[in-house]
């Protein structure tokens, strides 16, 4: 526990130094390029414990409190400026230069995320092999000839390695009548089918956009055993028990889970009598509870009738999910690493989608769809950081990238005191040609500061409260 806390704190500080360092470096390098004199570039804030003056006259420093950092530029508002140095001073620069300097920090954070994701893709990320599951008999995939557990190897002329490839390739065929899909069956034989996609398109509201075609990615290997019973469901109210192995339903033999699914698809709303084998688990059993071990237990034959319940969408539900075969499920997933060139568009897409997700989340938070107690603060972040590192470097890179984008976008919010607030002042200046008066700016910054502190207090107390 104590070790874990030390790990979390250490990882958190490393993350902060990387993220804030890069952010400030964005301000720093742009300021220099714009000809503004930088007095100090500090990692951390508060009292300085180490500093060196560079050849450019700038002080490079480490400060005591490693929770941030700053770039101090020559500025008439913050101290006396010698007359000969006036042209290197920040406040009298043309407004576009000031805008560039302020905007560079958040943009560098987003750029940093791109590089972090790039390294992540080079190292490899978890991917799903394109095994087909949930093939529905009345939909195009079944009609074409696709069956459960087929492995998709090619779509048109494109070889596919994981499910993401399948999605991207299929989407490119939208608008055509059909697309040739080559699959490898369980026995190793390959066949090519014409999948009818006439009229199919991607519905944004439905994440399972393959559903209209009648097949889905296989996420795990189901067994015919009951692995989960939903609370207050039809199954829970019946005599069906967890770990019962389904042998047949209403006399129809069930050889795999999909036999059961297709039976209830064909007979919606009908009472189902399950013939099950109920394992007799020894009282002193201490095994890992894998599918194989369950098969070894002796069992008693039972017959259980369940009446499905109609849900709000008009579907009949039993409220059971299959027990997964952990060993075989592992074969479905693999680590996919990308080549140097391949990884570039991947990282770009990932960067874009995280940016979009961040913006959407902020909007949902503002319009009240996400409750206040979901805000988490530095403690939750530290814990996640430590946890992600313990899973693997690639996860840590991904986590760091996401936080970096969060930092960048949050900083672009039009709240005075944040970079976005300054950008707002400069935009005002560009439009009206007048600077925002210092008094008004001071007051606005205090309000922004106040709101920020309020949010931070909530975040930290939430962390403490919900832990």
């Amino acid at each position: 526990m104590a070790l874990q806390i030390i790990r979390d704190i250490a990882v958190f500080l490393i993350a902060i130094i990387i993220l804030v360092g890069f952010h400030e470096y964005g301000h720093f390098i742009t300021a220099k390029k714009c000809g503004v004199k930088v007095l100090r570039f500090s990692l951390g804030f508060g009292p300085i414990f180490y500093k060196r003056t560079g050849r450019d006259g700038c002080e490079y420093a480490f400060s005591l409190i490693p929770l941030g950092g700053y770039v101090k530029m020559l500025d008439t508002r913050e101290g006396e400026v010698k007359p000969e140095e006036l042209k290197y001073e920040f406040n009298s620069q043309p407004v576009w230069k000031r805008l560039a300097i302020v905007a560079a920090g958040p943009l560098f954070n987003i750029l940093l995320a791109f590089f972090l994701f790039y390294f992540m893709f080079l190292m490899g990320v978890q991917a799903l092999k394109p095994y087909v599951s949930n093939v529905e008999e009345d939909k195009p995939a079944y009609a074409a000839g696709l069956r459960n557990d087929d492995l998709i190897v090619r779509i048109g002329d494109t070889d596919v390695i994981d499910w993401e490839d399948v999605s991207y390739t299929l989407i490119q065929y939208i608008g055509e009548k059909s697309v040739p899909v080559t699959v490898k069956h369980a026995d190793g034989v390959e066949s090519t089918y014409d999948l009818n996609i006439d009229g199919w398109s991607v519905d944004r509201s439905n994440p399972n956009f393959l559903e209209p075609l009648g097949f889905m990615p296989k996420l795990f290997e189901p067994t015919t055993r009951v692995g989960f019973i939903v609370k207050d469901s039809a199954a829970e109210k019946s005599d069906l028990k967890l770990f019962d192995k389904i042998v047949s339903v209403n006399g129809t033999a069930v050889n795999d889970w999909y036999d059961f699914i297709s039976y209830i698809h064909k007979n919606p709303g009908k009472d189902v009598t399950f013939a099950v084998q109920r394992p007799i688990v020894p009282a002193d059993y201490k095994g890992s509870g894998t599918a194989e071990e369950f098969d070894k237990f002796s069992y008693e034959e039972k017959s259980v009738t369940v009446t499905p319940v109609k849900d709000a969408e008009g579907n009949y539900k039993f409220g059971i999910a299959p027990f997964t075969d952990a060993v075989k499920s592992r074969d479905v997933r693999f680590i996919r690493s990308y080549g140097f060139l391949e990884a570039i568009p991947k990282s770009f897409v990932k960067m874009y989608s995280v940016c979009k997700l961040t913006v959407v989340t902020i909007v949902k938070f503002i319009d009240g769809n996400i409750p206040v107690n979901n805000i988490s603060g530095p403690i939750a972040i530290a814990q996640s950081a430590g946890m992600s590192l313990s899973v693997g470097i690639a996860y840590f890179l991904s986590f760091l990238g996401i936080i970096s984008i969060n930092l960048g976008i949050m900083n672009l919010l039009p709240v005075p005191v944040l970079d976005g607030g300054h950008i707002m002042f400069y935009l005002y200046e560009m439009i009206t040609g007048r600077k925002v008066s210092e008094q008004v700016m001071g007051r606005l910054i205090f309000i922004g500061m106040f709101l920020l502190l309020l949010l931070m207090a909530f975040a930290i107390f939430n962390d403490l409260y919900y832990n």
């Binding site: 008004v440 930290i460 107390f461 409260y465």
Partner: protein, 282 residues
């Protein structure tokens, strides 16, 4: 400015913890401490030196109203006469603020004597204390908030007051022509007051928007406008008492912000008035 921010850095988390994360009993204890600090400062207005017997009297009266009100009762059945005492104490606050309008406008021609000023401390602070307790414990489904919780109830009024303050500042700066009461506060303008009301109303409506059930926009508007006007009155009254006593800040307890009373002056009027209106609407 720097001092102001440093103080805010510890004051805000403290206030958030007090309002949102403490159980009601601890909240009441905190409110009592706040009011006693306020009373300590009021003692200086009235007697020009620290007289803590005065804060003791306030504390005793606060405790007494606790005894009547039993804020610790929580979900227990309501004490008999509880609502009557509630409306009594809040009503006392409202009546005092009506008198305060008269005093503020007539300053410096008409000034109350020392004894009355001491009484005004009680009529300011006890209803203030009780409105804190009342709003914090309220679980009215009919309140103006998207959240069915007393903490947010309280936060809502505070937010209104800050909005009114900021709105008044910016509008007053940009378009302020007509001074309200230059003898008491040279910076307050009628235009600023209107700006504050507009901003508070907008924020209140924006928040009401999130409510699932329909809300009564007339009720919201009435409560918000009166609470905002009361907040300005609270501010003016404190300025007046400080002028009478010849001091600038009520104390230096909160470096960069002045004293406790300086920070809560608008709330001492806005909260009891708002709570009273809520009581009437329910």
């Amino acid at each position: 400015m720097k001092q102001r921010i440093i103080t805010a850095c510890w004051l805000i988390p403290l206030a958030v913890m007090w309002m949102f994360y403490l159980p009601h009993v601890a909240f009441v204890a905190g409110a009592m401490i706040l009011v006693m600090l306020g009373a300590h400062e009021w003692g200086k207005f009235v007697f020009s030196k620290n007289i803590d017997i005065y804060s003791l009297i306030i504390a005793l009266l606060g405790a007494l109203s606790c005894w009547f009100f039993n804020p610790f009762a929580g979900d227990l059945p309501q004490t008999i006469g509880r609502n009557e005492v509630a409306v009594g104490i809040l009503g006392m606050g409202v009546s005092w603020w009506i008198i305060a309008v008269f005093l503020v406008f007539k300053y410096p021609k008409i000034q109350a004597n020392r004894f009355l000023n001491a009484v005004f401390g009680i009529t300011t602070l006890i209803p203030f204390f009780w409105s804190l307790v009342y709003l914090h414990e309220a679980q009215n489904p009919q309140n103006l908030l998207p959240f069915n919780s007393g903490s947010f109830n309280l936060f809502f009024v505070m937010l209104l007051v800050w909005c009114a303050d900021s709105g008044a500042y910016f509008v007053g700066r940009a378009a302020g022509r007509h001074h309200m009461i230059p003898a008491v506060s040279p910076n307050k303008t009628v235009e600023g007051l209107l700006g504050g009301i507009v901003l508070s109303l907008s924020v209140a409506f924006a928040l009401s928007f999130f409510m699932k059930d329909g809300i009564n926009f007339v009720n919201v508007s009435v409560a918000v406008v009166i609470a905002v006007i009361a907040s300005v009155l609270g501010d003016l009254a404190e300025s007046m008492f400080k002028r009478i006593a010849g001091i600038k800040d009520s104390s230096n307890l909160l470096p960069g912000h002045g004293g406790v009373l300086d920070r809560v002056d608008s709330l001492t009027a806005a909260l009891p008035v708002y709570a009273f209106i809520m009581y009437l609407f329910n």
